[in-house]
């Protein structure tokens, strides 16, 4: 069979295609973005006409995937960890409805917060909703387990999670494909009330979900992805989940770890397997990429059993991703750790690109708002969050997508007037529209800047739902015509833009200003393509 060099994300995407999905539903978010992008670029996906355009946000993505599963076809929803917060409502409830066509929800966590606001561990959500989780440890497993996950989902009529973390998502390795599967035929659920979560039905189905737990656990005990590896030194047993297993093995170059190991990649936790290890060994070390979930469960509330080592007792760092060195330390190895970084080396934080329209927007806003003093600008998530850094120091918040407008509204309600919201075009259609509606209904005195660069910049320039529509959306929501302005953020328009923003800051109601100029990255890309097309 063919071997391809794939990112963990791409291995999942290829597996989804090979598993016969009929749709991928997603909103971009590092480190999950490349799953959907791979399918969007795939010739095979195009030929089969697999649904692959972006969704407005993670909630709409998951709901659409649920609808496709209802109709009997296989669907994947993918998102970054915080995306699952947005999709939490359908997520918790689809555990109760169950699935019809295979439904796989891929969640990519970002421990160490390389590109995120937090490092929440999606396995918690898996436990919360009581659905199985598959946590591959390498690219080949990412492929194999995604295929397996679809089968599992259909066998038990249950949505399942494939959970990965940044390192696997964005690391490449050779992956061998397996035989492709055809798409499912359109087929309604056998029980047409399966998805009607009226209390009486929901209660019944919730009980069924509880009853299924025994089977899920049994599957975990017997899964080829959960391995009990014997070892002669019983002074310690090791539980290594997901990619933590790699860091463990990295520390034994001859691949012979003296301790018994459980390599754990499928949840719910196989209790019998864990009990066997626990009884056999004097102490247990738990290595998890993420929160100390297994560790906490093993310790219990009283923590009065055998010695447990892991993230909670300082054997491993409490926060952040693991690496071969932190795991070496936990195992008691002393390793050469290189020379320190010389002092001349300076930090090089990410920055707005030269020529970025956000620069001109911030320069104008900073000048217009100066006379009111600091601390009035609520921003959101995107490239423009970099406005928090010097030289702009322009914004005072970045909490979750869409929060800029509602936080500005809350602050204005509290008396902070004027209050300003800064939000990107993609973030606005993701979660900002309802926030704006709240402000309009209340006629709260806020000034909203929707920075329209025609793209989802931060995640690499994906199509933005608001393209060419932002103004109409605002009017439709009820923004007053006289207080809705489109401006061109360019240095030559600076004075004019400052004056206009200043006027709207003084208005006692909702104003929306839409600085509109294409992202310099997508513009360059377009120009290159045009040039190439001409040359050919």
């Amino acid at each position: 069979m063919q071997k391809l060099l794939l990112l963990g994300d791409e291995a999942i995407a290829q597996a989804a295609i090979d598993a016969g999905i009929s749709g991928i539903y997603a909103y971009p978010g590092t480190p999950s973005t490349e799953i959907t992008e791979y399918i969007q670029k795939s010739k095979e996906a195009a030929e089969k006409n697999i649904h692959r355009t972006w969704a407005a946000n993670e909630k709409t993505a998951l709901e659409t995937a649920i609808g496709m599963s209802y109709a009997g076809k296989r669907a994947m929803a993918s998102m970054k960890h915080v995306g699952l917060n947005v999709a939490a409502d359908p997520f918790m409830n689809v555990a109760i409805t169950g699935a019809n066509g295979g439904l796989v929800i891929v969640v990519a966590d970002d421990p160490s917060m390389h590109s995120s606001q937090n490092e929440q561990d999606s396995r918690t959500f898996g436990r919360f909703s009581m659905i199985p989780i598959f946590e591959p440890s390498n690219q080949q497993e990412a492929y194999d387990m995604t295929r397996y996950a679809f089968n599992f989902s259909e066998q038990y009529q249950i949505p399942v999670i494939v959970r990965i973390t940044t390192r696997l998502a964005h690391s490449r390795s050779g992956v061998t494909m397996a035989k492709k599967q055809e798409e499912n035929k359109l087929q309604m659920p056998k029980n047409l009330r399966q998805y009607v979560l009226l209390p009486a039905i929901a209660r019944k189905q919730y009980n069924e979900l509880i009853e299924k737990q025994v089977h899920f656990e049994e599957e975990s005990e017997n899964s080829i992805y959960n391995k009990f590896i014997e070892g002669s030194d019983k002074s310690m047993g090791i539980i290594a989940s997901g990619i933590a297993y790699n860091y463990l093995m990295e520390n034994y170059p001859d691949r012979k770890c003296p301790y018994p190991i459980i390599k754990l990649s499928q949840y719910p936790i196989p209790r019998k397997m864990i009990k066997k290890l626990y009884d056999m060994c004097d102490s247990i070390m738990v290595m998890e990429e993420g929160y100390p979930i297994i560790e906490e469960l093993l310790r219990g509330i009283l923590d009065d059993g055998k010695t447990i080592k892991g993230r909670l007792d300082g054997s491993l760092p409490r926060a952040g991703e693991l690496d071969p060195n932190s795991v070496a330390k936990a195992l008691g190895f002393k390793r050469y750790e290189g020379n320190p970084v010389p002092e001349v080396v300076k930090q090089r934080p990410p920055a707005l690109c030269v020529g970025c329209s956000h620069i001109d927007s911030y320069n104008a806003l900073n000048e217009a708002i100066k006379k009111y003093g600091e601390g009035r600008v609520f921003a959101d998530i995107g490239c423009y969050t970099l406005g928090a850094l010097p030289p702009f120091n322009a914004i005072n918040s970045c909490v979750d997508m869409g929060a800029s407008i509602t936080m500005a509204k809350g602050a204005a309600n509290a008396g902070l007037v004027p209050a300003v919201a800064v939000i990107g075009d993609s973030t606005f259609t993701h979660s900002g529209m309802t926030s704006l509606l709240d402000a309009i209904i209340d006629k709260t005195p806020i000034t909203v800047l929707i920075l329209d660069n025609s793209t989802t910049g931060m995640t690499g320039g994906q199509d933005s739902h608001g393209f060419g529509r932002i103004e109409d959306i605002c009017l439709g929501l009820g923004v007053e015509r006289e207080h809705l302005h489109i401006i061109k953020p360019l240095r030559k328009n600076h004075e004019e833009n400052v004056a206009l923003i200043a006027d709207e800051l003084a208005y006692d109601g909702v104003s929306v200003i839409i600085p509109t100029r294409e992202c310099i990255q997508t513009l360059n890309r377009r120009m290159r393509q045009k040039f190439k097309a001409k040359a050919e």
């Binding site: 071997k3 590092t30 964005h170 390795s173 790699n246 070496a328 690109c353 690499g460």
Partner: protein, 193 residues
């Protein structure tokens, strides 16, 4: 055979093109490979690195342990220094000497060169100039790869083949100029190692 390589640079400098060539060469020769990349926020002009691991045995960790990299290949001199904690005692640093200055507190170039000159095993090369002299300023990364080639424990021809395959769709001219860049970098390293 086992080699651990850190590729370093600034978001937008295209370090992944170097990774792609080495990776292609490795995989076509039946070697195992893992290549951890940086995607996301740092790609906006921040420091970026890629961990490239090649071996004839299965590789576990996607990340190279500290003090174990055989090579640091950097397209920017300050970025080469950032990853010294990863370099093994016997490792080599191959770096471009042309600063990419996009921060207000970028250090004095002499200070960077001073630190680089302290390293026991290094190749410091003006890849931009060499590429320009070849009439292809965009091939600087291939010059750097060429400078690293004597240390890759891979037959040189394999790299040329990889470039030929990688740039094939862009025409023979592009293939030729990139191979010339690779050769020029290699020659410089052979003379200066």
């Amino acid at each position: 055979m086992k080699i651990d390589i850190i590729l370093a640079g600034v978001g937008g400098q295209g370090i992944l093109s170097i990774a792609t060539t080495i990776g292609y060469a490795a995989v076509n020769n039946g070697l195992y490979l893992k290549q951890a990349e940086v995607h996301g926020m740092s790609q906006r002009g921040g420091d970026v690195q890629s961990n490239l691991r090649i071996s004839d045995e299965e590789i576990f960790s996607d990340l190279i342990p500290k003090g174990q990299a055989d090579l640091i290949i950097s397209v920017e001199p300050m970025e080469a220094l950032r990853y010294l904690p990863l370099l093994s005692k016997t490792g080599w640093v191959i770096t471009n000497d042309q600063p990419f200055n996009n921060i207000s507190n970028y250090p004095a170039v002499d200070d960077i060169m001073g630190e680089l000159s302290k390293l026991p095993q290094k190749i410091i090369i003006n890849a931009d100039q060499i590429a320009k002299d070849l009439g292809s300023p965009r091939s600087a990364n291939m010059v750097i790869l060429g400078a690293a080639s004597p240390f890759l424990t891979m037959e040189y021809q394999i790299l040329e083949d990889a470039i030929a395959a990688q740039f094939a769709s862009k025409g023979q001219e592009v293939v030729d100029v990139n191979i010339a860049a690779l050769k020029a970098g290699r020659e410089y390293a052979m003379k200066n190692k």
